[in-house]
Amino acid sequence: MSHSTAETTRDASADWPEAIYALLKKYSIRQVALVPDAGHSRLIKRCLADNELHVVSLTTEEEGIALMQGAWLGGQRSVLLMQSSGVGNCINMLSLSTIHRCPMPMLVTMRGDFGEFNPAQIPMGQATQPVLEAVGTLVQRADRPEDVAPCVEATLKFAFNTFRPTATLIGQRVLGAKTFGKDD
């Protein structure tokens, strides 16, 4: 691999928020529901600057599941952006996807994962994938920057081609762990 190709590859993988934004446009997403997370801040900023997107800031994540149901009823595609702690708030509401066969892609930034500092994040962080799978969600894990875009694309395709809840979990090895200034 030439030096320039390696540089290009590294740049592309470091820019995974931009790659997710490009995929949201490629798959004609029109509503973006979110509870803010630091890991998604660049993507959120990009979405807010796009007048074709309805960006809906939620008070709690399960509102986003209901919003996705309404959007699909009305013929629009949507996604939900949230932190892994918010997944716990969504579990009962995900029955809407199962009973109606509604596409519900979720892009989840992980806490309570690789290198976590805050004990409060561990219980839900470690439970995120099992509980999503327990209610029928197809889950992808992205633990390297270059895995993010392919996993997100698979998550969007699974949702809109097969009519079910789907999720990509973006790990803390990609995001970096928040250390509150205690790095050791």
Binding site: E62, A66, L67, Q69, L73, S78, H100, R101
Partner: protein, 199 residues
């Protein structure tokens, strides 16, 4: 319009809200509101919910944003609205002009044994909606207030939020189809045509 108690009859209220509805789409919260919209006439413009307690208002928001030329009415109960109360802030922030929410407030959880809700003990959902930032609201307790309510629901300057105090007694069950995939697909086909199923 009135039950023996002197309070508004929930099914007569539903009939008034949905009479000559034009293109208005209706999301009904689980339990009695879902039976009520079915009793006055089931069809593809209705989504009666079988679950997802607390979801009705937010489903209405997603639908209203996706279909800005259509009126969307969310008809739900006090218990269901209380469970999703934060969504009133989300809806006020988005401020869709075509969304109306009407709570049939019987001050009880009707499906689980008539336990009292917080609205029985002083919680005022209209005040909560106003506090969330919803500017157009109504409190309805009398039959002569129903025609202005119907007008407001069909107005074009939403979001609109109303509470109607209704008689607490349960009405005869009138169940909608139980297959959610049909309920979703029929509304999508109504709005999008046969292409809905090829999306």
């Amino acid at each position: 319009m009135l039950a023996e108690s002197g309070k508004i009859d929930r099914r007569e209220l539903t009939r008034a809200l949905l009479a000559d509805r034009g293109g208005m789409l209706v999301i009904a919260g689980l339990g009695a509101p879902a039976w009520d919209i079915t009793a006055v006439g089931d069809g593809p413009q209705n989504l009666p919910l079988w679950g997802g307690m607390g979801a009705a208002a937010m489903i209405g928001l997603g639908l209203a944003l996706a279909q800005p030329e259509r009126r969307v009415l969310v008809l739900t109960g006090d218990g269901e609205m209380l469970m999703g109360i934060g969504s009133l802030a989300t809806i006020a922030h988005q401020a869709p002009k075509n969304l109306a929410i009407v709570v049939q407030d019987n001050e009880h959880y009707g499906e689980t044994g008539m336990q009292e809700t917080a609205t029985r003990h002083g919680t005022d959902l209209v005040t909560m909606a106003e506090g969330a930032g919803i500017k157009r609201t109504m409190r309805v307790t009398r039959a002569d207030e129903v025609p202005p309510l119907v007008q407001a629901v069909r107005g074009a300057d939403g979001p609109f939020f109303a509470v109607v105090k209704v008689d607490e007694k349960s009405k005869p069950l009138v169940l909608p189809p139980r297959e959610g995939a049909i309920l979703q697909a029929r509304m999508r086909e109504h709005l999008l045509g046969p292409e809905a199923h090829l999306a």
